[in-house]
């Protein structure tokens, strides 16, 4: 199995590497001190198993799992049992190892990994699915159907019973919900980054802390949507 290790501590990575070296079926092909670097690696290489530290500053192990569209098998490593239990919410997480990891516990974990059938990915592309969708969207305003080019839509904002569709030309107020328009927008171009906002991903000018800039609008990014946004970025 091709494995990678993600942990911000050198000592912790060294321990997992040493444990892996005693199991002939495991091949460590990368180690990373942060999740962002690992995401870039996963975009290029197939990986069967990830040893992932839950508690990392900034971008935690759980955030990382949420960013993976088709995750490989994951074993969480942690100093806190309570974090580990939370991690079991994700299908890809096969087991968790509490630090300091012993040889006996590690071997049991690998057995469990090998015995678990799980449909793993090939590469985790950062690009969204290239869906075959139309280029236009008709919106109903005062009994008129107005054609919008999808590529002209910048931002869709929920405003009570209405949504506001901001385009490169003008803004439209439509009586519908964010959920309904989201179903009509192609996933490879549009992304919900906040409870009240869907953005045209290709129109981002920059991203700063917890907001994105699109034309002159600053759009907030919610904590729960941030991992998906990070996954979509073509990070250098």
């Amino acid at each position: 199995m091709k494995c990678i290790i993600i942990d911000d501590e050198v000592a912790a990575r060294a321990i997992v590497k040493q444990l892996c070296s005693k199991v002939s079926t495991l091949d460590i092909i990368g180690e990373f001190d942060n999740a962002i670097e690992a995401i870039k690696f996963l975009n290029q290489y197939d990986v069967d198993l990830i040893f992932l530290d839950i508690h990392m500053p900034g971008f935690s192990g759980v955030d990382f799992v949420q960013t993976l569209k088709n995750p490989p098998k994951i074993v969480m490593t942690t100093s806190d049992t309570e974090f580990a239990i939370a991690a079991y919410e994700y299908e890809a997480i096969i087991d968790y190892l509490v630090k300091p990891i012993t040889q006996v516990r590690f071997e049991k974990c690998i057995q469990k990994v090998e015995n678990t059938s799980f449909v793993t990915n090939s590469k985790n592309t950062t690009k969204a699915n290239q869906e075959d969708v139309g280029e236009d969207l008709y919106i109903n305003i005062d009994r008129r159907l107005i054609k919008l080019k999808l590529n002209d839509i910048l931002v869709v904002e929920a405003k009570g019973d209405y949504i506001e569709v901001k385009t490169t030309k003008q803004d439209y107020r439509v009586h519908t919900t964010l959920k309904k328009i989201k179903e009509k927008l192609p996933e490879n171009t549009f992304l919900q980054i906040h409870r009240s906002y869907i953005i045209n991903f290709t129109k981002i000018i920059d991203i700063e802390d917890n907001s994105v800039l699109i034309e002159k609008s600053v759009i907030p990014i919610s904590r729960s949507n941030r991992p998906e946004l990070m996954r979509r970025l073509n990070l250098l």
């Binding site: 911000d8 501590e9 050198v10 000592a11 912790a12 060294a14 321990i15 040493q18 444990l19 508690h55 500053p57 100093s79 806190d80 630090k99 300091p100 012993t102 040889q103």
Partner: protein, 106 residues
Amino acid sequence: MLEKPNLFYVQELAGDDLAFENKFIGILKDEFPLEQQEYVNCIEKSQLMDAAQIVHKLKHKFNILSMTESYTFAVAYEEELKKSRPQMDKRFREILNTIEDYLKTI
């Protein structure tokens, strides 16, 4: 009296792989002082959430060095720091100093 660190876990992990044992001790010697200094800086600047983060890392070192009581103490201290209560700092630094002294002997 503070418990003493030891290399039992590291030696068990290494088995007869002396190269790993030496390399790992080197990692501890490199990584621990940086984390220790980072902790001191955070406390001095009253950055208690950051201090909690570094205590979280340091407590893993306590585990590696088989310091179970110190680990339990660090778990409690990490939670206290998250509540902006750094009163356990003095004893925590004593543990850090014990490890610092120990790492000089190996």
